[in-house]
Symmetry: C2
């Protein structure tokens, strides 16, 4: 998506080189190194600037830690009371590096919370039937309370077919169309809500940011983030607009937002000038971009030009350390909730 959108700001593309600074357990943005294209759009001039952000930095890392600690306590209580350990199964098809990293992080988070991890790794050229067999196995396994099929799946598979096959009682990713349908319907009661948008809303709640009656703009309409985020914001009584690659004037619409959620994976697409003064900015974009100055040769970049946004927004999530950690925390929340429901444990 967002080819049109990206074109609209590409004439003055600025790459924010945002580093990770750990201070007292929280992540802080380092002064930025900005690459500004020249008027011709070909050459670059390098300037090193010190950012003076005025926005509150929404610390997803710290909030996620609190949530994970609470889950750990609950998992222990459940094990001691009824001898049941919540279990999460992950199905990963192919060798997408970002997916593999994400799955690794999930396993680590499960382990640290005391949740049992199950995993099936299938080669890229597996058939749809093989994936469906794995789903079916986990559907029937009483030790598994949550099933997650890591997306994206290889293009020869019908994603809808596979997501449909996950038992709705174990659909901790919330991607089953029945859960999405219930999320869309007023009065609908989804068993699970997709983790990333759920994490966004949780952050707003935890920072006491009112949603009701606010103008919310969601950039991106993916099934994983944009669409369910828009539905969730609407359920909280925001007035929601959804921007996508066919939107002609994204900048103008974005500037109307009291709450802006961006989920396009287009690094630095949202400039400071796109943001209404005082808006709350939730940056879901997490793109790995090459960075020879970083110790590992890359860094994670958000959709939002953080340095510029900080000066306009009232609150903002950094990348990394904002929405990312909340996604996994919400997955653990959903898995625990599923285990409690299945075993009728309060």
């Amino acid at each position: 998506m967002a080819s049109v959108i990206f074109t609209e700001c590409s004439s003055s593309t600025m790459l924010r080189l945002n580093h990770l600074n750990r201070r007292n357990g929280s992540y802080l943005p380092r002064p930025c190194v900005s690459l500004r294209s020249t008027a011709s759009g070909r050459g670059c001039t390098l300037s090193i600037r010190s950012s003076s952000p005025s926005a509150i930095v929404i610390n997803g890392m710290a909030e996620a830690k609190k949530i994970r600690d609470d889950i750990k306590t609950e998992v222990s209580r459940m094990k001691e009371s009824i001898g049941v350990v919540p279990g999460l199964a992950v199905i990963l098809v192919g060798e997408n590096e970002e997916s593999a990293t994400y799955v690794r992080n999930k396993k680590k988070a499960c382990k640290s919370a005391g949740i049992q991890s199950f995993e099936v790794l299938l080669p890229e050229d597996s058939s749809e039937e093989e994936v469906l067999r794995s789903v079916s196995g986990f559907n029937d396994d009483p030790c598994v309370h949550g099933i997650l099929v890591q997306l994206p799946l290889p293009s020869h598979m019908d994603e809808q077919n596979i997501l449909n096959a996950v038992s709705i009682e174990k659909d901790v990713d919330g991607f089953h169309p029945l859960n999405i349908g219930r999320l869309a319907m007023r009065g609908g009661k989804p068993l699970f809500v997709p983790c990333t948008p759920k994490g966004c809303i949780e952050l707003l709640h935890r920072y006491n940011i009112g949603i009701k009656g606010k103008r919310a703009v969601v950039i991106g309409r993916s099934n994983i983030v944009g669409m369910p985020a828009a539905l969730l914001l609407q359920r909280e009584d925001a007035t929601v607009s959804i921007i996508h690659s066919k939107t002609k004037n994204p900048e103008e619409i974005t500037r109307e937002a009291d709450i802006l959620v961006s989920a396009t994976g287009q690094p630095n697409m949202v400039r400071g000038s796109w943001i209404k003064p005082g808006a709350v900015v939730i940056d879901v974009g997490t793109k790995r971009v090459e960075d020879s100055s970083a110790p590992c040769g890359f860094r994670w970049a958000g959709d939002v030009c953080y340095e510029e946004a900080c000066k306009v927004a009232s609150a903002i999530t950094p990348v990394p350390g904002g929405v990312g950690p909340m996604t996994i925390a919400m997955l653990l929340v959903n898995t625990l909730a599923s285990a409690k429901k299945i075993h009728n444990f309060k």
Copy 2:
């Protein structure tokens, strides 16, 4: 919904007295009689004005007739070829007069298209189980290809439970959460799309009104119209905003719309000043209001102040004769499609 919205324009409420004029088989709005409230909002002055609309009137009545004629031909072909007659079952609970009228019209339309009608009328105080038994009976009946539970249901029933019980293959109203979920998801393939919003989009298509890249505003977020209309417009690549009772500045947002769909049931809520010059206005609201000057003592009023809107919009649906007739036409389309699918008839 829309109590807040309604308050915002109530200080100068104008009641459009829109009558039905049949000329050459099409419905035309009569010159309006306007009731204007005084500055105090108590008294009224009566003025009779001749409207000079510049907008194209989108003739839903004529389009619906063409569709119904096509269906009739297809139903005959199906009967002659494989001996199957499509069947539509309606479950009506209680004695809501508007629902009863709607059901009567459905039966009439079915009959004229050659579609078989089935009907269950249950008293207001029926139990949820009784409704579920009727649904189940129709699910199993091979003569029934479409099942429609007339909404609203009495408040002691769980609407979600009942809609869930309709076999998804016969869900011609498109309200099953699985169909809604598929409608919401990119790449999702709903078996059926709710009839009223489907009718709105069909009218736009039939009048060659482009949707892709346009700003669309939907007023109202009901499960029946507003929400699915927003999802459909988004599937057609519009940039969609949804306005509801908690929206603080509906007028301002509505004025951004290239395509405006209003579905609140608040007569004359949308004033001419709410509409962007040249916008296309789809008025879904159909409210029965008392009118002693009408032969039957009432008239149907839309959400949009038609007389004012005509002078600003480029195209507009009248009430009645706009979206209304398309709803039933789409129901017949869905029922025929269901019968064809079940019997694998091309």
